[in-house]
Amino acid sequence: MITRINHVSIFVLNQDSAHDFYVNKLGFKVHTDVTMGPGQRWLTVCPPEQPGLEITLMAIDEGMMFKKDSAELMRGLVSKGTFGFAVFECNDLLATYEELKAKGVEFTKPPTKEFYAFEALFKDDSGNWFSLGEKSKN
């Protein structure tokens, strides 16, 4: 029986820039940041209240994981905003929205009461989009 998830990956265009976005703007914490060779870096971050969930900020580079054409295709798709990778949660959506906007995070949808949730959508520095919802107060 699967009991929990401990690693997920987000493909990013630039790991330095992604580090700045996820740590300094979203407030995530670095879990592991090691160099595995020239231009090879393993970088994971965790949401502040989920230290057991590592989000791998995976570079899209030509190499063993991606052939040259696959890497180019993937970078194009990411930068066009093709992928929505996760639904994040906060305690108060309006407060979090105002704080992230003040830090320069780009929202593609402001906080909106939908029939299924109170949510907003934002993009990371690569173009990946995420839903941000409010923790149920019931």
Binding site: V34, M36, Q40, W42, N91, L94, A95, E98, E99, P111
Partner: protein, 145 residues
């Protein structure tokens, strides 16, 4: 955005500015009266709404920010005294007591633990990378970097 949310946004914007002020000036003596004034709230009202939205008082939040910054500094091998004063704490003894109460470690024990962990990650990175990802990337030896 739904129209009924517009009035709320201005209220939230003022509150968030006060929080961001604490984030930026955690290393200085911060007067909560002044922050409340700048955000156009009475001190009592500011504390009440801050607690409602962030589940902690402004003072508790500021202390938490200072401790988190101190933890980050200690991870980068800064001395205890330097971390204490760089984060806005006024005495080593109160800093040490608060740090231990919050983390379960004295600042020096925490610092040593973090430095050991950092060294282990640098020396044996494959311990911290799921094997499937490491193999996909061709990272098969700890010493291949």
């Amino acid at each position: 955005m739904n129209e009924d949310l517009y009035p709320k946004i201005y209220f939230y914007r003022r509150l968030v500015q006060a929080k961001l002020f604490m984030d930026a000036h955690f290393d200085e003596p911060i007067n909560l009266d002044a922050i409340a004034d700048e955000a156009y709230f009475s001190k009592f009202h500011f504390i009440r709404i801050f607690k409602k939205i962030y589940q902690q008082t402004p003072h508790q939040y500021l202390t938490r920010v200072r401790l988190e910054k101190a933890k980050m500094l200690l991870q980068s091998s800064v001395q205890i005294t330097e971390a204490c004063y760089a984060c806005g704490f006024e005495s080593i003894s109160s800093f040490t007591t608060l740090f231990k109460k919050t983390t379960g470690f004295t600042p020096s024990a925490y610092r040593q633990q973090q430095l050991d962990l950092k060294a282990d990650r640098q020396l044996k990175p494959l311990k911290y990378i799921p094997a499937c990802f490491a193999e996909k990337r061709g990272w098969t030896e700890n010493s291949n970097f």
